[in-house]
Symmetry: C2
Subunit: 395 residues, 2 copies
């Protein structure tokens, strides 16, 4: 019954996120970095003011879903089509280079192991954890910088979508190697089914909104029903197709990105997001970070894990982009934009734990990866994008 | 971990609330009525699509706090001062007439009992449950009709605030009659302390916002810090002073209602509210309604309970308003605006259950009262306000 307690958490999160965000902006770093650091500061490791409750997790999940829905709404379908095949190749390179990198890191650190042994699976799974890009931080940074709709922005978004799908397929294959209950063919089939269903229902939803838009333009029902579409697709994707809810929300945004009121919906999503949900999401990443149970050997492994995960993503995506004809600066932007990891990496790690492929202590490495990538990606992106136009569109 | 499930609930709540809200508007009833009925429809009693989870309760609580904060922001301090002493008298009449009415109803239905017996306390407590007005529904209706800032609107708001305080004092007195642990003097002292603290800290916060407003007008930090003030005061009021969190949020709104950017904050609060939190709040009232374990005798008592609670509030507040010089139409508006009950009545009932003064089965009566008052108040208000200006400002 004591629901009022949640207001303490929300007040602390909002004020610390905003103050740290403004401090970050003063230091010419993106505000999201400050918001994540705020989460670390107020979290259990340092001040212990706020605990990660189920309610905060739920709010954070809504936050990331709204961010992805917003990103989808801001997408240009024409650009997505144009960058589609390039994005596919970039995503493939961005999955397989980190997969190999993670496997090699584990083998070099703990010794090579025969195929099929438990250590072999741990090594392979270390690679699998590194595969899934999570672009929500990149999306927020590009939005703050005003480059979400740029060509590199669209390429990153498309590649991240495809990356998610390939990552899920790889995960299922690897788990399937040990656990006969998991069927990789079924996963590929359900993924294909999801996109087929998204196209069919997406088209129907798009027609419905075209009608609503014409009949009642700029009324509240349009953004509210937009939320309904985003939440429904997030739910259906994860529940019935095993695809991440954030992917479903992004696809919902793409479905609605071509209607006349898409900017109107995006503005309402944006207000709901930055007033409450997005700060909670970013702070909750910091909240999850715990620096207990750490040995020097494990710490060194964690640091190497982070470096390898980041560098292999930049090499994989960046080199492929360069091969596909992007300039060095744009290739770097794409590589850096793709290197962020998020809750998908945690979900993958959890899956590995459940099937006995990795140990719980490696979670620290995953959280460190999420934290480090979340902090340095926005900074690097700001530097890279400033090179070209001097941050003219900065918010 | 399965946080994605909440998106199903949110999608169902939003789409049903919006559709029922639009249907209500088509029938010339306020949209909030439709949204509450949507909650009954999708709730456990009828379709069983959505359960009242802790997460939904939390979202609903944020919803009602945002509604009260918005109402505070829309207040004119000058009007509040002008209507202050009238509001005090109206609130007193609105507490004591229902208190007597509830007591008499119980005695007439179940028989008079000697002072001090268990039945005497049950009768008295039936009256106590009827005292607390909850204006959130009235606020939402007046806002929809465009009369929140009218003189009757301000009178209702001021009277409801004072009503809350008197209600808490009465509750503590009655509980104190049976339980020596509860000290009415301490309650009066802590209530006085809350308002003293609100004036001191409120003035400091007001000065801070005047500065922020001058230095960075129309920036996101202003509404975000406004949220922080609202959430903090909601928390502190309930945690340290035993005052309802919604009263704290309303006072937070009053603190900020005179700064230049108060409308800017109000707009952001409004978007966050109507896009997600308000529909969840209204639907959750409907969700709580369960129509099991009902005997004909209990049902009749529940119906009489509702009628007495509504009529005594109208008589108490309306007659006092008339005495104070309001026109008959305005007196009716005030009486009807004050007759809504909300979560405070439930909290009071819970308190009575905890100290053994009432039985759990009477909860249905309280929920029915909340539901009926929430449904008919907006309709009556719409009719009453239409009489004067023909709903010219209707949203």
């Amino acid at each position: 019954m004591e629901t009022y307690v949640l207001f303490k958490d929300l007040a602390i999160i909002l004020v610390s996120a905003k103050l740290c965000g403004l401090a970050a902006a003063k230091l010419k770093a993106p505000q999201v970095v400050g918001e994540i650091i705020a989460g670390v500061l107020i979290g259990p490791s340092i001040l212990g003011l706020v605990q990660q409750t189920e309610f905060i997790s739920g709010m954070a999940e809504i936050g990331v879903v709204l961010l992805m829905f917003f990103a989808g709404l801001q997408t240009s379908l024409r650009d997505l089509m144009r960058t589609g095949w390039k994005a596919l190749l970039i995503a493939c390179a961005g999955v397989f280079v980190p997969l190999a990198g993670g496997y090699l890191l584990y083998c070099l650190y703990y010794g090579f192991a025969p195929n099929g042994s438990s250590q072999f699976y741990s090594a392979l799974f270390t690679g699998v954890i590194m595969t899934a890009t999570s672009v929500s931080i990149t999306v927020a940074s590009l939005q703050e910088l005003g480059f979400l709709k740029s060509e590199t922005g669209t390429t990153i978004m498309s590649a991240a979508i495809i990356d998610d799908v390939i990552g899920i397929i790889v995960l299922t294959f690897v788990v399937g190697m040990k656990d006969p209950a998991s069927d990789p063919t079924a996963v590929i089939a359900s993924t294909a089914l999801f996109f087929a269903a998204a196209i069919v229902f997406g088209w129907l939803i798009y027609r419905l909104f075209l009608y609503l838009d014409k009949r009642w333009p700029h009324t509240r029902r349009i953004p509210i029903l937009g939320f309904v579409v985003a939440f429904s697709m997030a739910y259906v994707a994860e529940k019935y197709f095993g695809i991440a809810d954030i992917t479903g929300a992004y696809v919902a945004g793409i479905v609605l990105c071509s209607i006349k009121d898409s900017d109107y919906i995006a503005r309402k999503v944006d207000v709901s997001s930055y007033m409450l949900f997005a700060p909670v999401f970013f702070a909750s990443i910091g909240l999850k970070t715990s620096i207990d149970d750490m040995t020097p050997a494990l710490l060194l492994f964690c640091l190497l894990f982070v470096v390898v995960a980041l560098v292999t993503k930049i090499i994989g995506c960046g080199a492929m982009s360069k091969v596909l004809g992007y300039s060095t600066n744009d290739a770097m932007k794409i590589g850096v934009g793709m290197m962020t990891r998020g809750e998908v990496a945690l979900i993958v790690a959890q899956k590995g734990l459940a099937v006995g492929m990795i140990q719980a202590k490696y979670f620290t490495a995953v959280i460190l990866l999420i934290l480090v990538s979340s902090v340095i990606t926005p900074i690097l992106l700001k530097i890279l994008y400033a090179k070209k136009v001097g941050g003219a569109q900065a918010a």
